[in-house]
């Protein structure tokens, strides 16, 4: 029986764990513009990534975007998750599938949709012009705002589905009891629903934060070439700079941050609130 896990384990070890170890080793090498890579054993690339203003900006932009998008997503997703969790309708499974569907369509397609909405003669500008909210078309493409909206659209379904699963398991009686004892709608939310759904909020927020940190397509397509987040910066190191040691260093830093969040999340909410 135990032999049956062997092929899967070998695959993951050979194609994921092995290359990650190789990547860590390469991050300790030195880059040279003429020889590309020089064997070495030092953490100087990590020091450079932390000290150099360019990499600092990349790291801070990524963390800032991830925090902002996670917070906004939580605010928008919570009422929707509550609605979905409490929904009693024969259409419920359809709503769940509809929430899931855009996730499976892929980030490139959805970024393309935003690009079509954001053009100067696009739907958003036309509606705002017709309504006389603005007199000149807005520049929406290649702004951080566009990236924020694009990322939120990508991660919203994850947050909604994670929190809705927890809210479904909270008995309605608790809200009724609180209401009968005189709790206002806000008190019911603040003192009953929110504390009980905390595990879902935490699990969803960690998952979404990690996904935001990893953003590639949305940042490249909606942020433009000058907007740099971690994943595009890593890609550039390999493709434009041919700088394997620095690319490996940045990749390993991103891996360390996202893995520590994921591991922290799975230890704190193991089993019962399995992440999607």
């Amino acid at each position: 029986m135990a032999l049956l896990v062997l092929p899967a384990c070998l695959l993951v070890l050979g194609l994921l764990i092995g290359p990650m170890a190789l990547m860590f080793r390469i991050s300790l090498n030195q880059f040279s513009p003429t020889q590309l890579m020089i064997e070495a054993f030092s953490f100087s690339n990590y020091v450079q990534a932390a000290a150099d203003p360019y990499y600092q900006e990349v790291i801070l932009t990524t963390l800032g975007m991830a925090l902002l998008c996670t917070a906004l997503t939580l605010v928008i997703a919570f009422p929707t998750a509550y609605w979905l969790g409490r929904l009693e309708s024969r259409w419920k499974s359809l709503v769940v599938i509809a929430t899931l569907f855009p996730l499976l369509v892929g980030n490139v397609v959805r970024s393309a949709g935003w690009m079509a909405l954001f053009t100067r003669e696009g739907l958003i500008n036309m509606v705002l012009l017709k309504a006389h909210v603005i007199s000149e078309p807005l520049t929406l493409m290649y702004t951080p705002k566009a990236v924020v909206l694009g990322i939120i659209a990508v991660v919203l379904p994850y947050m909604i589905l994670t929190i809705a699963a927890v809210i479904e398991s909270i008995p309605r009686d608790l809200e009724d009891a609180a209401a009968n004892l005189g709790a206002s709608a806000f008190q019911q939310f603040w003192r009953v629903i929110l504390p009980l759904s905390a595990p879902g909020v935490a699990a969803g927020s960690i998952l979404v934060f990690v996904l935001c940190m990893n953003t590639y397509a949305t940042a490249v397509l909606l942020g433009g070439p000058r907007f740099k987040m971690m994943a595009p910066a890593i890609f550039d190191q390999f493709v434009r700079g041919n700088n394997w040691p620095m690319g490996a260093t940045l990749a390993f830093m991103l891996l360390a941050v996202t893995m520590s969040f994921t591991i922290f999340g799975s230890i704190a909410f193991a089993r019962r609130y399995r992440m999607r």
């Binding site: 029986m1 135990a2 049956l4 896990v5 092929p7 899967a8 993951v12 194609l15 994921l16 290359p19 190789l22 990547m23 928008i76 929707t80 609605w83 409490r86 499974s93 599938i97 899931l100 569907f101 499976l104 369509v105 892929g106 490139v108 397609v109 959805r110 970024s111 393309a112 949709g113 935003w114 690009m115 079509a116 909405l117 053009t119 003669e121 739907l123 500008n125 909206l149 694009g150 939120i152 659209a153 919203l156 379904p157 589905l161 209401a179 009968n180 709608a185 806000f186 019911q188 629903i193 990893n214 397509a217 490249v220 397509l221 994943a231 890593i234 390999f238 891996l255 996202t258 999607r276």
Partner: protein, 278 residues
């Protein structure tokens, strides 16, 4: 007081209903707006995307395939996704069976290892594989990067955690009475597996196959560094095109991708209730 009590009983006042309904609508508008817009754009007659469109046309769906990068990208992506699912789903199913039914040390660690590909950012895993492939190419003196085999190997990595997770979930909910009954009636272990266990695992396996295929088909991050001239997957081809322009041609290609994913979900939903497995 009695009036407000009655209101509480007849109507369920949770938090501010108006604000709540507004946010629900906002959430679904944000989720669906880009998908709806790209489908709509694919019918705009004018090449420059402007609203409202002067006329509507089907032509882009025919012309899009004149661009070799899209046709080749679609073929490559379908090929890679099919192969990756065909390899990854049996391997992942075997592992899931062993994890649920087997008795061996280190099961927790193995379970975590098999889910690890989900936790590693795609661009990071892709960078590691890229360096691994290039070094292996130099050592073996043969192409690995930008080959179908190289892409399939990487994408199998995506299919394993989904398969393990979905099949483990379907096995855990299994009632073993039927298997015991078959064994008591004289069926050998292999017959029990083939006639009882495997059919009961079917919903999990079907869902795993669909998710594996879709995960591979729409994958961008992992593939970015592993593609090359002549071997470009559809999402990478679309990304490269979009770095220069958005037009109805691309929208038509994107709509085809949306349709493929949608049809797969509808077909799978006939076998397994998707809202229950996910």
């Amino acid at each position: 007081m009695p009036a407000s009590l009655l209101a509480n009983l007849t109507e369920r006042p949770s938090f501010n209903r108006v604000l709540m309904r507004t946010l629900v609508v906002v959430a679904y508008v944000i989720i669906f707006a880009p998908v709806a817009m790209i489908v709509a754009t694919s019918f705009f007659a004018q090449e420059i995307v402007s609203f409202p469109p002067p006329a509507l046309t089907w032509d882009w769906y025919l012309n899009a395939w004149d661009k070799p990068e899209f046709l080749r990208g679609l073929v490559t992506s379908l090929q890679v996704a099919l192969l990756a699912a065909a390899i990854g789903v049996p391997i992942g199913t075997a592992a899931a069976l062993a994890i649920v039914r087997g008795q061996f040390p280190g099961k927790q660690v193995i379970g975590a290892l098999l889910l690890a590909p989900l936790a590693v950012p795609g661009v990071v895993a892709g960078s590691g594989l890229y360096m691994f492939y290039v070094l292996a190419e130099n050592a073996l003196d043969r192409d690995i990067k930008a080959t179908t085999q190289g892409l399939v190997a990487a994408h199998v990595l995506l299919t394993i955690p989904w398969t393990v997770r979905l099949v483990v979930a379907s096995l855990q909910g299994l009632d073993r009475a039927a298997e015991e009954a078959a064994a008591n009636l004289g069926a050998g272990p292999f017959t029990v597996f083939r006639r009882i266990t495997l059919p009961m695992m079917r919903p999990g396996i079907v869902a795993a196959a669909m998710f594996s295929f879709i995960q591979s088909f729409e994958n961008l991050d992992l593939s970015l560094l592993l593609v090359g001239p002549g071997r470009i997957t559809l999402p990478v081809a679309m990304l490269n095109y979009l770095e220069f322009r958005i037009d109805p041609t691309l929208a038509a290609v994107a709509t085809v991708q949306i349709l493929i994913v949608g049809v797969l979900m509808v077909v799978t939903d006939r076998f397994v209730k998707l809202s229950r497995v996910v």
